[in-house]
């Protein structure tokens, strides 16, 4: 890759050396190599890109790009206006907008550079073609190509542009925030924030004992949660599906419908209802007390340990129907002759489950499990709607016992306006998820023996 870029770079220099006047001109004036050789529309388009970008940078972009290294130096000031009777506020630099538009302008610059290189190459190709006595492609030919030999370009342009605009740009912006001190004490518009390097990372990893302690405890709980939420759902879902599919079970459709009804109610509604239901003074506690089963309410959601168990159990109720649906499909695909053969060899139901069903299921569903695991690491809904991360603990910084890293991140942004710390944690979560996914995915049989499964 690097090698190719290297030779390409030399290639463009060679174009300059070997190029005629027009080719050389297009190093400075985009589209010259097309425009003056008859490709009017193409040439004008290149020229427009150059003119547009220069205009954009002069009127708008350059200001932000220049300020990007400092993220702004001018603070908001006010000046008394006797005619009005109050001090009029003169806005200063807004570090957040500088970061945002600075990044955007730079990315836009990269796009323009790509067009710039394309323009040079076109100019040189045109020169060579003409010298060889060939005919240049007209704009109409280019359009035809886009529907024919270069159809992939036509199809891919929109997704690539959208992904760059809606995913990559915001992502870079958010990631960069982790290297600033954008927190409660540095809020725009009255204050500036600036680059502080890796300080947030060192603080959260070991510098600030309370932060690092919170990070470690929430990380461990996040992993524990993701493990149980994923695998218990998986196992119970399979068992449920097996039970329903078992020969001799009547009205299968009815059972399937009964279990699927939990999916019919929107998740957030059922979660919030359950949260009310399990409250210290909620319906379940009141019922149990009135029945005389318990004398004191059970702190389903207000005791750290019990709350952790509660969220896992409630999540089972919410999640099992989905796994049941998915595994039903896979189970029906397992060749019946495998079971028959094993039965002849004298295998019981349990042996069949562990030696046929599970291996088959695992091979097919490992990618699904990985996705689920990562999704559960970031399972904001269940935790936030059920407990909001509570009960709070003095051992944690701005977090509660059932907070996942992702809900902690949410609290830091919304309640604390500590965007830089939240962004830092976001990056840490990403690293964890990426590591877990890559490791397990590449080692999974579904990937290694992809060709074997048909």
């Amino acid at each position: 890759m690097q090698k190719r870029a290297h030779t390409e770079g030399i290639g463009f220099l060679r174009y300059f050396v070997k190029g005629d006047l027009l080719t050389r001109l297009s190093f400075f004036l985009m589209g010259a190599g097309s425009l003056f050789r008859g490709q009017i529309v193409k040439g004008l388009l290149y020229l427009a890109i150059q003119a547009g970008y220069i205009y954009y940078m002069i009127t708008f972009g350059a200001f932000y790009v220049i300020k990007l290294p400092t993220l702004g130096t001018v603070t908001q000031t006010k000046e008394f206006d006797p005619a009005l009777g109050f001090s009029v506020i003169k806005p200063g630099d807004n570090s957040m907008l500088i970061l945002l538009y600075g990044v955007m302008s730079l990315l836009l610059g990269i796009v323009v550079i790509v067009f710039y290189l394309m323009n040079i190459k076109t100019a040189y190709v045109n020169q060579v073609t003409l010298r060889a006595g060939g005919r240049l492609k007209s704009f109409r030919d280019d359009l035809k190509d886009l529907l024919d030999s270069r159809f992939h370009v036509t199809v891919l342009t929109l997704p690539v542009v959208l992904a760059a605009a809606f995913t990559v740009t915001p992502l870079i912006f958010m990631i960069l925030m982790a290297f600033t001190n954008y927190n409660r004490d540095h809020q725009p518009p009255g204050n500036l924030f600036t680059w502080i390097g890796l300080q947030n990372f060192t603080q959260v990893l070991y510098g600030n004992p309370l932060w690092s302690n919170t990070l470690i405890r929430l990380f461990l709980w996040t992993i524990v949660w993701a493990f149980f939420a994923t695998f218990l759902n998986y196992i119970f879902g399979i068992i449920l599906a097996l039970m329903i599919n078992k020969k001799g079970i009547r009205i299968k459709k009815f059972w399937r419908t009964v279990f699927i009804t939990t999916v019919a109610v929107p998740q957030f509604v059922s979660l919030m209802l359950i949260s009310k239901f399990l409250h210290d003074q909620g319906a379940l506690n009141t019922l149990l007390m009135n029945l005389g089963v318990i004398r004191q309410f059970i702190p389903f959601l207000s005791n750290g340990m019990i709350a952790k168990i509660t969220v896992i159990v409630v999540n089972l109720w919410v999640g099992i129907p989905y796994t049941m649906l998915i595994s039903s499909g896979v189970l029906m695909n397992i060749p019946e002759d495998l079971y028959e053969a094993s039965r002849i060899d004298g295998a019981g139901t349990v042996a069949q489950f562990f030696n046929i069903t599970m291996p088959y299921m695992l091979q097919v569903t490992t990618p699904y499990l990985i996705t689920q695991f990562v999704a559960n690491i970031n399972n904001f809904n269940v935790i936030y709607l059920l407990t909001q991360g509570d009960p709070k603990s003095l051992n944690l910084y701005q977090a509660g016992e059932t907070d996942l890293l992702v809900t902690w991140l949410y609290k830091l942004t919304v309640n604390e306006q500590n965007y830089s710390l939240a962004s830092t944690i976001g990056i840490i979560i990403f690293v964890i998820c990426a590591a877990v996914s890559l490791l397990t995915y590449n080692r999974s049989r579904a990937v290694q023996e992809e060709d074997q499964f048909q």
Binding site: L44, L45, I49, A51, G52, Y53, Y55, Y56, T59, F60, G61, Q76, F80, A83, L84, G85, F86, S87, V88, I89, K90, P91, L97, L100, Y101, M104, L108, F115, V161, A165, T169, P170, R184, D185, Q187, P188, P189, G190, N191, L210, H279, D280, Q281, P299, S302, N303, D390, P391, K392, S393, L394, N395, L396, Q398, Y410, T413, V414, N415, Q417, N418
Partner: protein, 432 residues
């Protein structure tokens, strides 16, 4: 966060349009540039308008944020505001942002935030520190506030000797609602007597102790303080001897058989099914409580409680107000100030009370038979003698205080009270 994303997406759309049609780039970018410079250039035009240099033709756009329940009222008030200035053309846009969310919504994008917005006074320091507000400096405005607004409300809008917003209501506080068939007026003097009466009647007393707002009542009542240091870090002495005595008082209450905690819904539901006979809450629940208790509906100041030292201490409270501020990024600050003044004048404070039973900050508006006859507001007025302003309470206080209350409510005795208090104070004062 979500708002910021939306903003990013719109910004990103701009990039798309730039890339997608290179030819149109000039126009697009120009638009964006003028947008970004809008803050500065329209600032000047705002000045010009107010200076009277402008003919009435231009439309002055103002955005107002208020809570959901007040939208209809705001609509009326802004209509009457427009009628006040027939020579100017206003376009007033209302947005739903509750007083509690003002800071977080504002900080998402100051330039896109409302010109005039309502906020709870505990957010004043955050807003002033962020440079988000216009100081109230106009002579007429100051004269109105100083002469017609009650002192506690003025104090709640004052920071570093300057007034930063227009007081709108003076009713953000809490007191004790009770069922007069269970408690006598004498019972309401002390928490011990209340507990005894409730116990005898088999009823419960509600207080959300796992909430920094309410739990402070005990500590501040016993002489502890919350303050802010010069550098803005929170100071808290809840772990001194008085704090420990207060904490022992809380523990005794929490451990008593009549104690019940939860959120507003627990309180009102308990009143309705008759299990709860008294509770600490504020005016926002007045209607619900009155509906549940009917003729036995009563309210008064908070009682005294027995500290760990055996003395009686009057439970304090936070006395909060709601304020209306003018965004420092406003393109029309003078008109925005006019509107803020209008929304908080005597006439509109009376209308707000009539429509929503909210206690006015205006002295004359509060001095009416209707306000005095309001049981909840009367109780609030009684409690206000024991109320402290919330403006010296920073953001670092709430979560640790809630965690402390949660630990007590869970009857978790794995650490002794002094350790818990030390941990709480360490977190509150740890800066950040």
């Amino acid at each position: 966060m979500k708002r910021k994303l939306v903003m990013l997406l719109t910004a990103a759309t701009m990039v798309v349009s730039l890339v997608a049609c290179g030819g149109g780039a000039g126009g697009n970018a120009g638009g964006a540039a003028s947008q970004a410079a809008g803050g500065a250039s329209s600032q000047e035009s705002g000045g010009a308008e107010a200076g009277g240099a402008e003919a009435g033709g231009d439309v002055i756009t103002l955005k107002v944020w208020g809570p959901q329940e007040e939208q209809a009222l705001l609509q009326e008030m802004t209509e009457s505001f427009k009628a006040q200035y027939p020579d100017k053309t206003f376009e007033i846009e209302l947005g739903v942002v509750s007083e509690a969310d003002a800071v977080s919504r504002y900080s998402e994008d100051p330039a896109a935030a409302a010109d005039v917005f309502a906020f709870a006074n505990d957010q004043l320091r955050d807003l002033v520190n962020a440079g988000a507000l216009y100081e109230v400096e106009r002579e007429a405005d100051l004269a109105y506030i100083n002469s017609e607004i009650n002192a506690l409300a003025i104090d709640s809008a004052t920071l570093d000797g300057a007034i930063w917003a227009y007081p709108e209501t003076a009713d953000n506080g809490y007191f004790m609602y009770y069922d007069s068939s269970v408690f006598t007026e004498a019972d309401m003097e002390s928490l011990d007597a209340m507990i005894a009466a409730a116990d005898a009647a088999g009823k419960k007393i509600f207080m959300d102790v796992s909430n920094g707002w309410y739990i402070a009542s005990f500590f501040i009542g016993n002489g502890c303080t919350l303050s802010l240091a010069e550098d803005g870090t929170q100071q808290c002495d809840f772990n001194n001897a008085a704090g420990l005595a207060a904490a022992q008082g809380i523990q005794a209450f929490v451990d008593s058989s009549v104690f019940v905690t939860g959120d507003d819904s627990v309180f009102t539901a308990g009143l309705q099914d008759g299990s709860i006979a008294a509770g600490v809450s504020g005016t926002w629940n007045a209607e619900a409580v009155q509906g549940a208790l009917g003729d036995n509906y009563a309210a008064t100041k908070l009682p005294t409680y027995t500290t760990g030292d055996g003395t009686q201490a009057q439970m304090a409270s936070f006395g909060g107000t709601k304020l209306i501020g003018v965004n420092s990024q406003s393109a029309h600050p003078a008109e925005a100030m006019d509107l803020a003044m209008w929304l908080t004048n005597e006439e509109n404070q009376i209308r707000r009370f009539e429509a929503r039973q909210i206690g006015p900050a205006n002295i004359k508006a509060a001095d009416s038979d209707a306000v005095r006859a309001n049981i909840a507001l009367a109780a609030l007025a009684l409690q206000s003698q024991h109320a402290v302003s919330q403006k010296d309470v920073g953001g670092a206080y709430w979560t640790p205080a809630e965690a402390f209350g949660t630990t007590l409510e869970a009857h978790d005795t794995s650490k002794d009270l002094q350790t818990l208090l030390d941990e709480m104070v360490a977190q509150i004062t740890s800066g950040q």
